[in-house]
Amino acid sequence: MNQPERYELIELMGLPKVTYELDSKSPNAAVVTLEKEDHTLANMLANQLLSDERVLFAGYKVPHPLNHNFILRVQTVEDCSPKQVIVDAAKSLITHLEEIKVNFMREWELKMISVEGVEMEFS
């Protein structure tokens, strides 16, 4: 059958997760290919990169919807490498998510206390 295996969406199948190449067309630019990832991560990374003052350009494209990868292009100011900027963006996103989790857990605990309080009143 011509249909690709469903697990090819997820499994790397021997491919490297990240491919990093310097862009020959412009200075201090790099093209990063991420395998088995889609808009979910790509959009987050691109937007986080744009909030860094060292970044001159950040954008991504999904070359083909049937190939599960995306290409991220980053250009930075002279005294900084694109790789470092992407690593910093990933770190910032992890901090973002940690903070959201802490806030959510705090809210959740308060919600549980209020619900249990109501139950205690009725019992």
Partner: protein, 348 residues
């Protein structure tokens, strides 16, 4: 009172278009502001609140985050949280009118109540190899139903449920068959189908279904049956700014332009009824009020750019609050993979 420029914080909803959609809070957009991402600023602006929470649904709000992160949560909830679902159906006997593949498909969509964290990923065999299932990656269910005439039914009975025995096959008829150490591992919380009342097939006397179904871990990206949510969506918080007082009959008309509970009528200083915004969260942003010329310059509609109202409805496999925590973990693992992979690359 003229319309205030809120283009930085709000999306303007006009009668014929939506404006100020793009974010402008990044470095270099305004020459006199840096707008660099700062952790302290982010912590100060971030707010999370849970509006409602029960076994199936959760409504919560997050403000102070970028649209890309909110959208990532939605996408992860729908497609990337692992759950168990039936992947292999071995049909021993099926004499019902439902074809084997249709029956298998229907069984595949039945949600299973089992903790995905207790299972490993099933290793799909390479071409020509045999699949090896273990009690740590596969759950086995069996279904065996045969329809017969009900000997005690009245002669003039028309209802198939009384006329026949086992005239309908329900998801609850799928019986878990513990394998290996599963019985002791799941002694406290036996594996079962979430909803036992889903009609899988209908039978008539002489027809029989006998099958075995194997469930494995998977994600919604692979097939919708693995998705742990029925719906996971978000919308931006609506805003209604009344620029000049709307009074009397106009106030009553204005109230009718919105869903119930959005606009409240109160007594103004001169004793007339006056419109006041009561609860914007109930607004559907239908823009009905903008159709009427009398309200054209009196109201400004919009949506807060970074305030998201999330609604998560679980299929019952896991509680929605657990799903959200898991979505954070999945996103973190993605970011960690990028970080570690890039740090391992030596060339620059």
């Amino acid at each position: 009172m003229a319309a205030v420029d809120r283009s930085r914080t709000e999306i303007s909803v006009l009668s014929d278009r939506v404006t100020d959609v793009g974010s402008v809070d990044f470095p270099g957009y305004y020459f006199d502001e840096d707008n660099i991402w700062d952790l302290d600023k982010f912590k100060k602006n971030l707010k999370v609140s849970i509006t409602s929470l029960d076994q199936e649904t959760m409504v919560f709000e997050i403000s102070g985050i970028d649209a890309s992160i909110a959208n990532a949560f939605r996408r992860i909830l729908i497609a990337e949280i692992p759950t168990l679902a039936f992947e292999f159906v071995y049909i021993i006997n099926n004499t019902s009118i439902i074809q084997d593949e249709v029956l298998s498909h229907r069984i595949g969509l039945v949600p299973i109540s089992a903790d995905p964290d207790m299972f490993k990923w099933f290793q799909h065999p390479l071409p020509g190899q045999e699949a090896t299932h273990t009690d740590y990656d596969t759950v086995v269910f069996s279904l065996n139903k045969k329809c017969e005439f009900n000997k005690n039914a009245a002669t003039d009975e028309k209802d198939p449920k009384r006329l026949y025995v086992n005239s309908e096959v329900y998801s609850g008829d799928l019986i878990w068959k513990p394998q290996g150490r599963q019985e002791e591992r799941f002694a406290d919380n036996p594996i079962r189908v979430v909803n036992p009342d889903i009609v899988v097939a209908k039978l008539r006397p002489g027809q029989e279904i006998d099958l075995e179904a194997h469930a494995i871990l998977g994600i919604g990206q692979d097939h919708a049956k693995f998705s742990p949510v029925a719906t996971a969506s978000y919308r931006l918080l609506p805003t209604i700014h009344i620029l000049s007082p709307i009074e009397g009959e106009d106030a009553v008309k204005f109230q009718k332009c919105f869903p119930k509970g959005v606009i409240e009528l109160e007594e103004g200083p001169d004793g007339k009824k006056q419109a006041r915004v009561a609860d914007v969260r109930k607004d559907t942003v239908s823009r009905e009020c903008l159709r009427h010329p009398e309200f054209a310059d009196k109201v400004q509609l919009g949506r807060v750019r970074d305030h998201y109202l999330f609604s998560v409805e679980s299929t019952g496999i896991m509680k929605p609050d657990v799903l959200f925590i898991k979505s954070i973990a999945v996103l973190k693992s993605k970011c960690l993979a990028v970080k570690s992979s890039l740090q391992n690359i030596s060339s620059d």
